[in-house]
C-alpha cells in the first residue's frame, strides 16, 4: 500500500507544484491518474519514485516511510518508473537494458515475452543499441518493457500512450489488463486516454497540484466524460483521496 501524507513540492522560486496531497493507493489495483496538462501528475509520480524530493509531507510504502529514500533505494524496495520521455544510450543494447531491469540474464523466451507485451519482436530488437537508430515510439515501448521486466510491487507509467502507434497502444492496453489479472503489484498509470481510463480499478484526478477527485472508476469516469472538468475551475476543490478496495 502506498500512502501520501500532506505531500507538497515547491520549486526553488517558491512556485507550488504539488499542494498538500493526501492519497492512499491499495495493493494490486490498476490506478489511473489523470487531469489537465501541467496539473502535477508527472511531478506526483516523480515524487513517489524519488526523482524529486518533497518540500513537506511523507510517503509511506508497504508500511515503511520512504520519504528520505533515494531513487535507488526505492527501486530496490519495489518501485519502478517508466519515464514519459525515455532516454537513449549509446552502446547499451535493448537486451542489456532489459537485463539490468530484471537484475538477471534473460532467456530469449523471456525477452520475447517482454517485448511482445509492447508490440515489438525480440528478434529484431534485442541486439540493437538504445540509440538514435530507434524511433521515439520504439524507445517508448522499450521503456515500458523495462518496467515490466522489474516485476515491481508498484509500477508507475507516465503517459505510456505518448508517441505509440494505434496498434501498439491497443496491445499495451491488453498488456495492462493482463497484468492487472496476473501481477500482484499495483499499476499506477498517468494517462489521458479513455481506453486506459476504462480499464482502471480507480481513477485519481489531479489538477493544479491537488487531488480533485479519487474513487472507483464507475464513480469518477462518468464525471470526466461529461466534460465537467473543462467547465470548472481547477482550483475549486481539494478532496484528497482514499481509494477503497
Amino acid at each position: 500500500m502506498l500512502k501520501l501524507q500532506h505531500l507538497a513540492w515547491d520549486l526553488p522560486d517558491g512556485e507550488e507544484i504539488i499542494k498538500d496531497i493526501d492519497l492512499t493507493i491499495p495493493d494490486g489495483k490498476l490506478i489511473v491518474v489523470t487531469g489537465p496538462n501541467g496539473g502535477g501528475k508527472t511531478s506526483l509520480a516523480k515524487l513517489i519514485a524519488g526523482i524529486e524530493t518533497p518540500s513537506s509531507g511523507r510517503i509511506i510504502f508497504d508500511g515503511h516511510d520512504i520519504t528520505d529514500c533515494d531513487i535507488t533505494q526505492r527501486a530496490r524496495l519495489g518501485i519502478a518508473y517508466a519515464f514519459q520521455q525515455p532516454v537513449r544510450f549509446k552502446g547499451i543494447t535493448v537486451r542489456d537494458l532489459l537485463e539490468l531491469a530484471a537484475c538477471a540474464p534473460l532467456s530469449e523466451e523471456a525477452l520475447c515475452h517482454l517485448l511482445g507485451n509492447v508490440g515489438l519482436c525480440a528478434d529484431e530488437y534485442i541486439d540493437r543499441e538504445m540509440n538514435a537508430s530507434l524511433s521515439g515510439g520504439e524507445i517508448k515501448r522499450i521503456e515500458i518493457a523495462t518496467v515490466l521486466a522489474r516485476n515491481a510491487r508498484l509500477s508507475i507509467f507516465d503517459e505510456p500512450e505518448a508517441g505509440i502507434d494505434l496498434w501498439s497502444f491497443s496491445r499495451l492496453v491488453d498488456t495492462f489488463e493482463e497484468l492487472r489479472k496476473t501481477h500482484g503489484g499495483t499499476l499506477l498509470i498517468i494517462s489521458h486516454q479513455e481506453r486506459i481510463l476504462s480499464i482502471a480499478d480507480a481513477i485519481v484526478v489531479v489538477a493544479d497540484g491537488r487531488v480533485r477527485q479519487a474513487g472507483p472508476r464507475q464513480e469518477i469516469l462518468p464525471t470526466l466524460l461529461s466534460d465537467a472538468l473543462s467547465t470548472r475551475c481547477p482550483r475549486s476543490q481539494n478532496t484528497g483521496g482514499n481509494i477503497h478496495e
Binding site: A49, I51, D70, I71, T72, A75, R76, A80, Y81, F83, P86, V87, F89, K90, G91, I92, D96, L97, L100, A101, C103, T146, R150
Partner: protein, 305 residues
C-alpha cells in the same frame, strides 16, 4: 619472453599459448618470436628496425599477430612495420601494444605502420594499447599509421586504449582510390593526468571512396584529450567524422573536426559532442536499482564497448 610480456600479450592481443597462423612478437625492441605461413610471409627490414608483412591473394580469413611490448623503463622502441596486402586478400591483423614501467625512466613504444592494400583487399586491423607497472617513469605510445587503399580496398581499424598509458599521440593518414573504404572505430579512456591526442587526415582521392571515423572517449580525473580529423574530398565521395566524448571529474577534451570539399559531389559530415553523462541516463539506471556510481560505470562501459 618474460612474465610481464606474457601478461601484456594476453591483454593486448589475446595471446595465451601457441599461436595459430602468422605472427611476429616484439619485446623491448627485439623480435622474440616469428612465424610465417603459406600465404603470409614476414621478413625483417634491412635498413631500419621492423618488418615487412606480405599477405598474398590466397590469404582468406587468416589472422596475423604483430604485438609489441615494452616490459621495463628506459626502453624507447621505434619500429617500422609495412603491410603489403595483395589483391583480393581478406585478413585480420591483430596488433596491440603494452608498455610497462617499473622505474623512473620513460618506457615508450613508437610504431610506424604503413598499409598498402591492393585492389579489393580487405583488412580488419585491431589494436589495443595498455600501460602497466608502478614506476614513476611515463608510459608512452605514439603510433603513426599511413594507409594507401587501392581501388575497392577496405580497411577497418578498431583501436582501443583503456588504461595506464600516460601519454599517447596517434597520427593516422589515409589515401583512398576509387570505391575504397576506410572505417575507424576508436575508443579511448584516460584518467589521472594522462594525455591522449588523435589526429586523422584522410584524402578521398577516388570516385565513390568513403571514410567513416567514429571516436568515443571518456576523459576522467585531470586527463586531457584532443581529437583532430581532416577529411579531404577530392572526388565524388562520402566522409563522416564523429567524436563523442564524456567528461568526468576534471577531464577535458578538444575536438577539431575539419572538412575540405574540393569536388561538388563530395558529401562530408562531421559531428562532435562533448559533455558529462546526461542526468536523465543516470536517473533511468537508478530507477532500475543501480547506484549513481554503478550507473555511471555501466554507461561508460557501454559507451566504450
Amino acid at each position: 619472453m618474460n612474465n610481464i610480456t606474457g601478461e601484456l600479450l594476453r591483454t593486448v592481443a589475446g595471446i595465451d599459448g601457441p599461436i595459430q597462423g602468422a605472427y611476429n612478437i616484439r619485446e623491448d625492441g627485439q623480435c622474440t618470436g616469428r612465424q610465417s605461413t603459406e600465404h603470409i610471409r614476414i621478413e625483417s627490414k634491412i635498413t631500419e628496425p621492423g618488418i615487412d608483412i606480405y599477405i598474398s591473394s590466397q590469404a582468406q580469413g587468416e589472422t596475423v599477430y604483430i604485438p609489441a611490448c615494452v616490459s621495463h623503463s628506459g626502453v624507447d622502441d621505434l619500429v617500422y612495420n609495412d603491410f603489403h596486402v595483395a589483391e583480393g586478400a581478406d585478413v585480420v591483423i591483430i596488433a596491440g601494444c603494452g608498455v610497462h614501467s617499473d622505474g623512473q625512466e620513460e618506457a615508450r613504444h613508437n610504431g610506424i605502420h604503413r598499409f598498402f592494400l591492393e585492389k579489393e583487399a580487405h583488412v580488419l586491423y585491431q589494436e589495443k594499447h595498455i600501460g602497466t607497472g608502478g614506476g614513476s617513469g611515463a608510459r608512452r605510445i605514439d603510433p603513426v599509421t599511413d594507409i594507401y587503399l587501392a581501388e575497392g580496398a577496405v580497411l577497418e581499424m578498431d583501436t582501443i586504449q583503456l588504461s595506464g598509458v600516460d601519454a599517447s599521440d596517434r597520427k593516422t593518414s589515409a589515401t583512398l582510390s576509387s570505391r575504397a573504404r576506410f572505417v575507424v572505430r576508436e575508443r579511448l579512456l584516460t584518467d589521472g593526468k594522462e594525455t591522449a591526442a588523435t589526429d586523422f587526415t584522410v584524402a578521398l582521392d577516388g570516385e565513390d571512396s568513403g571514410v567513416d571515423l567514429i571516436s568515443r572517449s571518456v576523459a576522467k580525473g585531470h586527463s586531457r584529450q584532443s581529437y583532430r580529423s581532416t577529411i579531404i574530398g577530392n572526388h565524388r565521395c562520402t566522409g563522416h567524422s564523429e567524436c563523442d566524448a564524456i567528461l568526468s571529474e576534471e577531464g577535458s577534451v578538444v575536438a577539431l573536426p575539419a572538412l575540405e570539399a574540393n569536388h561538388p559531389d563530395a558529401q562530408l559530415i562531421h559531428e562532435a559532442a562533448i559533455g558529462k553523462i546526461a542526468g536523465e541516463q543516470l536517473l533511468k539506471l537508478r530507477t532500475l536499482g543501480l547506484t549513481e556510481q554503478q550507473a555511471e560505470e555501466r554507461i561508460i562501459a557501454g559507451f566504450l564497448k
